[in-house]
């Protein structure tokens, strides 16, 4: 059990120009917390995790585990366990040997190793496979062995780098729940890397969003969804992605295809204090609604309808100024509009509007 903190930690890969794969990352993870690192490919998630594991140098700053500075401690001294994307099972050892290897290295006696391995195997439903080599296992079983190898050690921190990305969709959902439940039960601090924001939202106590090596925001899934700190996070979290458009401002609100969406006073103040003529206007598909054609609203031509069962996603073009912009609206799955139809779209709830600075992307209003 331990808390983890990154203190302005950076990893700079030499090159021309040097790549700042992780750039002054500051992050505190509480004891027992499940923290998810999420971000697009190449954003530095794996690098950040590997820095914590001691597999990657920390070029600037420091990393603490359990209050101790481990910046220059080799992996074996950090009391961590890691699950790799490729699982990295030792091909020449059986499942039981794989799981017990770390204990063996620590000089734990054989009987105790056996007992702990058996216990973990039972927890993960691997008892049948203990004598097999990894080659003779399916992908899902290998994944569980990799988990088992981490659990057996009873480390103070679990690190997982996209452990589910090699599984099929159904198994992934299942395993996702299992991992979360397991973590709950063991209460071990866990850092989990994924590029899948659904995984991030469903599993993490808190989610840290990275982009280009920079931490964008770290908060609970709810807070990320409700109050994204910038346009990047707004677009990255939530599926389907938030509609983000640059629109002109009037003294009343944001101007969209003939209608003016009224904005809150504080938002308008924030914009005017920066003297902005335009803002990045964000609204989630679920905060938009279709209204009967007589009513007031944005005119939208339906271009695509994705039926998801309970819901349907309506993609369509809306005129903003001279150009036409694509919007997505989530509607009731039973009564979707048909292709080519002209519909009217309104904002369901003004409090669900997000405004961002058009250049910096930072959230406007306090």
């Amino acid at each position: 059990m331990a808390e983890v903190s990154y203190i302005k930690a950076s990893r700079v890969f030499s090159g021309n120009p040097p790549v700042r794969a992780v750039d002054e990352l500051s992050l505190d993870v509480a004891d027992g917390e499940f923290l998810v690192l999420v971000g697009p490919s190449g954003s530095g998630k794996s690098t950040a995790l590997r820095m914590l594991a001691g597999l990657e140098d920390v070029d600037e700053g420091a990393i603490n585990i359990g209050g101790k500075d481990v910046t220059n401690v080799p992996p074996k001294g950090r009391d961590i366990a890691m699950v790799f994307q490729s699982y990295a099972l030792y091909p020449h050892m059986t499942v039981a040997e794989n799981m017990g290897f770390a204990l063996k290295l620590r000089g734990v006696n054989k009987a105790e190793i056996k007992e702990k391995v058996a216990e973990a195997a039972k927890m993960l439903d691997l008892t049948k496979y203990l004598d097999r080599k990894p080659k003779a296992l399916s992908g899902g079983q290998r994944q569980r062995v990799a988990m088992g190898r981490a659990i057996v050690r009873e480390p103070s921190v679990f690190l997982m780098d996209e452990p589910l990305s090699n599984l099929d969709a159904k198994l992934r959902v299942e395993t996702r729940a299992n991992i979360a439940a397991l973590q709950q039960r063991l209460g071990t601090t866990t850092i989990y890397v994924t590029h899948d924001q659904v995984e991030a939202m469903t599993m993490g106590h808190r989610v840290a969003v990275l982009k280009d090596g920079l931490l964008q925001q770290c908060d609970t899934p709810r807070a990320l969804y409700d109050r994204p700190a910038n346009a990047f996070v707004a677009g990255f979290i939530g599926s389907p992605a938030m509609n983000l458009k640059t629109v002109p401002l009037t003294s009343e609100g944001a101007k969209l295809d003939g209608i003016v969406v009224p904005l809150s006073r504080s938002a308008l103040d924030a914009a005017s204090s920066e003297q902005l003529a335009e803002v990045t206007f964000g609204i989630r598909p679920e905060a938009l609604a279709l209204v009967p054609s007589g009513d007031e609203g944005m005119e939208m031509t339906v271009e695509l309808v994705e039926e998801l069962g309970a819901d349907a996603l309506v993609h369509g073009a809306v005129k903003i100024g001279d150009s036409s912009e694509r919007f997505v609206v989530r509607v009731d799955g039973r009564t979707p509009p048909s292709l080519g139809q002209n519909v009217k779209v309104v904002v369901r709830d003004a409090t669900e509007i997000h405004l961002f600075h058009p250049e910096s992307g930072a959230r406007l209003e306090a």
Binding site: L55, M82, F84, A88, L105, L159
Partner: protein
């Protein structure tokens, strides 16, 4: 119209299939014929020595050679009894030297190959280049300076000095080969081992070496052969006393002194080849994968 086209296609397809099996029957004959001829050429010289080894010296040089001609095991028994030089002593020396060379060369090549495969460090490129350059120099010409070095180190006339010299000839190629093999072992395995509590050396010793067995087998084979059949260094660096000779040197002397004793020579040759062939047989199933990854990655 459509019907015509489809039926035509079906006919064509089955036609093609027919042709294919037809051709492959002929091809299969050609394939086996070629392989049999090639294998015959590969094996024949050895086979012929084997045949000769049973003949008395006089019968071995008849102008119309026969497979069996007063054949017996006499040549072997006389050689093993030591009538033609201290064969068994030479044999022991050779085994010792070849085994030591194999162990040391494989160990050196493995550590170096691992470092070159896994770590980036200043001087790595230079090291790899120097391995290539070492192969280019005709070693024979180094004998005098080498002699001086070994003398200074007190290893001249000593088996261990010879072993070191053999290692320098075997290690560069072995390192290349093993580096290539190590490159095929994913880095994740190393990292998992580090996280599980191994030091960099522990990773090498407990994970990478066991996984690199095919590569190590090929390397061992190569190193063994380097030492087993070498003549020039062995004659220069071992003391002239008969009991310190290796097989290759002893046999060479035997050849020079007994140019006509073909039967005995053949028998001795067969005896010398047996250990090499045994080693070869043990590693042959690893040869292809082991050598390939080395050469592919170079």
């Amino acid at each position: 119209m459509t019907l015509d086209a489809t039926s035509l296609q079906v006919v064509k397809a089955s036609d093609a299939r027919l042709k294919r099996t037809d051709r492959s029957r002929l091809a299969s004959f050609g394939l086996h014929a070629t392989l049999i001829i090639a294998s015959f050429i590969a094996v024949f010289p050895v086979f012929w020595v084997l045949v000769t080894s049973f003949k008395p010296d006089a019968r071995a040089v008849e102008t119309t050679p026969k497979l069996v001609n007063e054949s017996s095991l006499d040549n072997y028994s006389r050689i093993l009894a030591g009538d033609k030089g201290g064969f068994l002593t030479w044999f022991g020396n050779s085994v010792l030297i070849a085994l030591l060379t194999t162990i040391i060369a494989v160990f050196l090549a493995a550590t170096t190959g691992y470092a070159v495969s896994r770590f980036r460090f200043p001087g790595k490129r230079g090291l790899m280049m120097s391995f290539l350059v070492v192969q280019m120099f005709p070693f024979a010409v180094l004998i005098v300076p080498l002699y001086n070095v070994l003398l200074t180190l007190g290893l001249q006339g000593n088996s261990f000095g010879l072993v070191l010299v053999y290692c320098t000839t075997a290690v560069p190629f072995c390192t290349y080969m093993l580096k290539g093999y190590f490159d095929t072992i994913p880095m994740d395995i190393d990292e998992a081992g580090r996280v599980d509590g191994l030091s960099p050396f522990g990773v090498f010793w407990r994970l990478v070496l066991p996984l690199a067995r095919p590569g190590l087998a090929v390397t061992a084979f190569y190193a063994f052969l380097t030492a087993w059949g070498e003549v020039a260094f062995a004659s220069a660096f071992l003391s002239a006393a008969d009991e310190s000779k290796t097989l290759a040197v002893g046999l060479q002397v035997f050849v020079q002194q007994n140019r006509t004793e073909w039967g005995h020579l053949a028998a001795a040759s067969i005896l010398v080849s047996i250990p090499a062939v045994i080693v070869f047989y043990l590693v042959q199933r690893f040869l292809v994968t082991g050598l390939a990854s080395g050469a592919v990655k170079g």
